[in-house]
């Protein structure tokens, strides 16, 4: 089933991401403090290189110094503009993830449980899946115009596929013995779905959710950059046209920060909802 899951994800939060640094540090017997210091040193070196490059090229338009980016970041944060744009993008993201979950998860259960539904619907999914969300932007611009609906549509489209495919995989991967046991004990079908299939599929669905988020987050930038008058993606392009490079860089940092914190939040959700699947969720 792996094949279906990976294709469109720009950040493969996939079957075995390399171990997190903290984990690697633990394995190596390194105390967390030391690993934190190493991280700090890496960033220091990175910023030093950036600074040196900026000083060397001496072209603040193309490569502003870290200090000017920090100043821009501060002023954007203080006057609330960055927060506004981040909230706009985040709201769109949340709405589309909500729609995608409501559409894709039940459909995934249907397709995973019923061979016949799968035979009818799966070909349609396979026809649509290779068409990336980005490719829908021009057509969606015609249909929805420039505004809020376009990014939400694009993100929902992008998020649906990993969710759907992971739900199907999760439902099908339910332990056969558990099913047989429940059936032997005369548990009705609806309760089997509720109490056996659902918990069994949840870890895979959660992975699908993270993949869906990764895809959607990458698509929202494109959608906002091209067809929206607000949001983080719009802001970076806006400041590029004004040739205010430090603000462009500041917004790029903001995009990374929001994306990163959402993924951390999803991981936390994953741990809370499926504590039993820790570490084995992708085995």
């Amino acid at each position: 089933m792996q094949r279906s899951i990976e294709i469109d994800s720009p950040l493969p939060v996939s079957p075995g991401n390399p171990a997190r640094p903290t984990l690697a540090a633990k394995v190596a017997g390194y105390p967390a403090v030391l690993s934190g210091l190493v991280t700090l040193r890496s960033f220091a070196v990175f910023i030093a290189i950036w600074w040196a490059a900026a000083a060397w090229t001496h072209s603040p338009l193309q490569l502003p110094t870290p200090l000017s980016v920090l100043t821009a970041l501060k002023s954007l944060a203080i006057d609330g503009e960055m927060l506004d744009n981040a909230l706009t993008s985040f709201t769109r993201l949340a709405i589309s993830m909500g729609i995608a979950v409501v559409v894709a998860v039940p459909l995934g259960f249907l397709m995973g449980l019923s061979e016949r539904a799968n035979a009818y619907i799966d070909p349609m999914v396979e026809v649509l899946r290779p068409i990336s969300g980005i490719a829908w932007i021009p057509l969606a611009l015609f249909i929805f115009g420039v505004g809020d609906v376009l990014p939400v549509f694009i993100m929902t489209y992008v998020a649906c596929f990993p969710l759907l495919l992971n739900t199907i995989a999760g439902v099908r991967g339910t332990d056969r013995r558990l099913l047989a046991a429940a059936r032997t004990m005369g548990v009705p079908q609806s309760r089997i779905v509720r109490h056996v299939v659902m918990p069994g599929a949840l870890p895979t669905i959660m992975v699908g959710l993270r993949l869906a988020f990764a895809g959607a987050w990458s698509a929202i930038i494109a959608a906002e950059l091209i067809g929206s008058p607000s949001g983080l993606g719009f802001a970076i392009e806006w400041y590029r046209q004004l040739l205010m490079s430090p603000k462009v860089f500041a917004y790029i940092i903001a995009i990374g920060a929001v994306g990163y914190s959402c993924d951390v939040a999803l991981q936390a959700l994953q741990r809370t909802l499926t504590p039993w699947a820790r570490g084995t969720e992708l085995a």
Partner: protein, 267 residues
């Protein structure tokens, strides 16, 4: 994996093929019928006019040229991402010290979508091919790097130690032990990376077209943008979308076939 719960009685009355095409065909027919109810001068696309647009675009040579442009950019950009990703990934996978030092930087760049760096690419390289290449390279770099690092770090230690005991040189260990062991991961990364790269080039061309008033970038993405903003040709846009999908499918299948041939021991 193919086991299903078979809640519904498995009806085998309808042949598989017919079931597979039932929904797509129904939707196509519904779309065509809907389009026929519209006035004649409508700009709304219909299956028949999409086919006509496809023939027209192929005959004029616009579509093949744009496709070649986009695909060429993907290949070059992907090659850049591949070389950087595989070399750095091998270092990261082989040495824990390198990994510990580089990983924080990599992890902080990873949530920055390729499209977000497009404005910088335009500032640095203008609106031409180099900007597209850098976006594609950036997009393909991360899956390549992560898969390679993972594959290399999961190499069987016993094999490496055995080779070392027998006095095999470091370079030969890399070429004969580590690379073959990591190959499945590297190929998986390449497939993912190529898929992302193809999406990224369309996005980049589209955005360059949209943000530089047409520009001179060329490619499928820009073609879509021109259909959107100048010629208002929705049929052309749908043709481009289908082409984008078919190419993505083609790339995916190609890599799967390559995987089957290059790593026959991993079926």
């Amino acid at each position: 994996m193919s086991a299903t719960l078979a809640l519904s009685s498995a009806g085998r009355r309808t042949p598989d093929m017919l079931r597979a095409i039932a929904l797509p065909i129904t939707l196509l027919v519904a779309w065509q019928l809907w389009a026929m109810t519209l006035p004649d001068d409508t700009r709304a696309p219909s299956p028949a006019s999409v086919v006509a647009a496809f023939v027209r675009l192929c005959a004029s040579g616009n579509l093949p040229i744009s496709l070649a442009q986009s695909f060429g950019r993907v290949l070059v950009g992907f090659a850049i991402g591949l070389v950087l990703g595989v070399s750095l990934g091998t270092l990261m996978g082989a040495s824990r010290a390198v990994r510990r030092n580089i990983e924080p930087i990599i992890e902080s760049f990873r949530p920055i979508a390729p499209m977000a760096v497009l404005p910088i690419a335009i500032l640095w390289f203008g609106t031409g091919t180099p900007a597209g290449l850098s976006i594609v390279g950036y997009a393909a770099f991360f899956p390549m790097l992560l898969s390679t690092a993972q594959g290399v770090s999961r190499t069987d230690r016993n094999l490496v130690q055995a080779a070392r005991t027998m006095g095999v040189s470091r370079f030969r260990i890399l070429a004969k032990v580590i690379v073959p062991a990591a190959l499945p991961s590297i190929l998986l990364g390449a497939r993912l990376g190529m898929g992302v790269a193809w999406t990224a080039i369309i996005a980049a061309e589209l955005a360059v077209g949209a943000k530089s008033g047409g520009g001179s970038s060329g490619g499928i993405g820009q073609m879509m943008f021109i259909f959107y903003s100048y010629s208002i040709d929705m049929n052309g846009i749908v043709v481009c979308m289908i082409v984008v999908g078919v190419v993505a499918l083609f790339i995916d299948r190609l890599f799967r076939i390559a995987e089957r041939h290059l790593i026959p021991w991993r079926q």
